[in-house]
Symmetry: C2
Subunit: 149 residues, 2 copies
DNA sequence: TAGCGATATTTGATATAAACAATATTTCAA
DNA sequence: TTGAAATATTGTTTATATCAAATATCGCTA
């Protein structure tokens, strides 16, 4: 098949996937009584022991001031701790609380669960090719985004 | 490989892809002097000759009142026309203007171009499997989203 | 055919999400 | 040790989105 035609199909696919993935995120956040921003923020912690405000802001592509408020919410809900970094008192050390760690674990589990369900609808022999192909797609996309201008 | 492990990789992949695709949308909208909402709205027109406010709102998962405002912007920028539907005067017939059609064509072209560039970084024999796999993924995702509760 | 309920859109009020600007604290280098 | 840069926060403003009320129209029925 013509590459251009393939590109067109791929364009439509990523467009639809994007919409559906967003919907999925909204749904999951809702279930756990979190705003979308809080949900994304917690997800971004991953296994990182300790991060500061600015790093999180950069990863989420939000302003530091916005992050302060999102973290305010998560602190109030007792999912994370925020304390002054003793090494550099300008930084705030943001870490998951016990409750937070539990939730993240649970979220990851649910997240994997969904994708596991999704995989069940796809022939097993197709799993590996799917992953590989999508890894390539992600790589290429990142490369495109890093292009100047 | 274990399905669960595959699911975990897939979960991380879609998470990263989502973030990057969003970034890409932001970038493209910016280039054309449109807000993200306006950009998405124009993209959703596709080749549809004429749609009404409510249909667009449903497709974009936004309230009709929000749509009125987004369309206000697009009308002001002269990308679309809005006129009373003669068949049912409660409806507004929203159609692309000449300028709008041109932009949508251009957008689609750019959109396909990006994905074409992306495909160039992926081995040609992998193109078809990628598409097929992603189609399955989308299908499965839609199915998951339609699940009650 | 007059009137009632349903539907589509718009407008105004409001809530939420985000950025920007100014400030306070701290670090670090000249 | 003083001034510039970095970090987080707070107050202000803008953008995004919803909800409720108002308006216009339609379709039905008594």
């Amino acid at each position: 098949m013509d590459t251009n035609q393939t590109a067109e199909r791929l364009a439509n696919l990523t467009f639809s996937l994007l919409a559906n993935c967003q919907e999925k995120e909204v749904r999951l956040a809702e279930v756990h009584g979190l705003t979308q921003a809080e949900f994304r923020c917690l997800r971004l912690f991953g296994t990182d022991e300790s991060v500061n405000n600015k790093q999180i802001a950069e990863r989420m592509a939000l302003s530091p001031s916005r992050l302060t408020r999102i973290i305010d919410g998560l602190v109030k809900k007792e999912y994370i701790n925020r304390e002054i970094d003793p090494n550099d008192r300008r930084n705030m050390r943001v870490t998951l609380s016990k409750k937070g760690k539990l939730l993240v674990q649970q979220l990851n589990k649910a997240y994997v669960g969904i994708h596991s369900e999704i995989l069940q609808d796809i022939e097993k022999s197709q799993h590996e090719p799917l992953i590989i192909a999508m890894e390539h797609l992600l790589e290429a996309l990142e490369k495109w985004l890093q292009k100047p201008e």
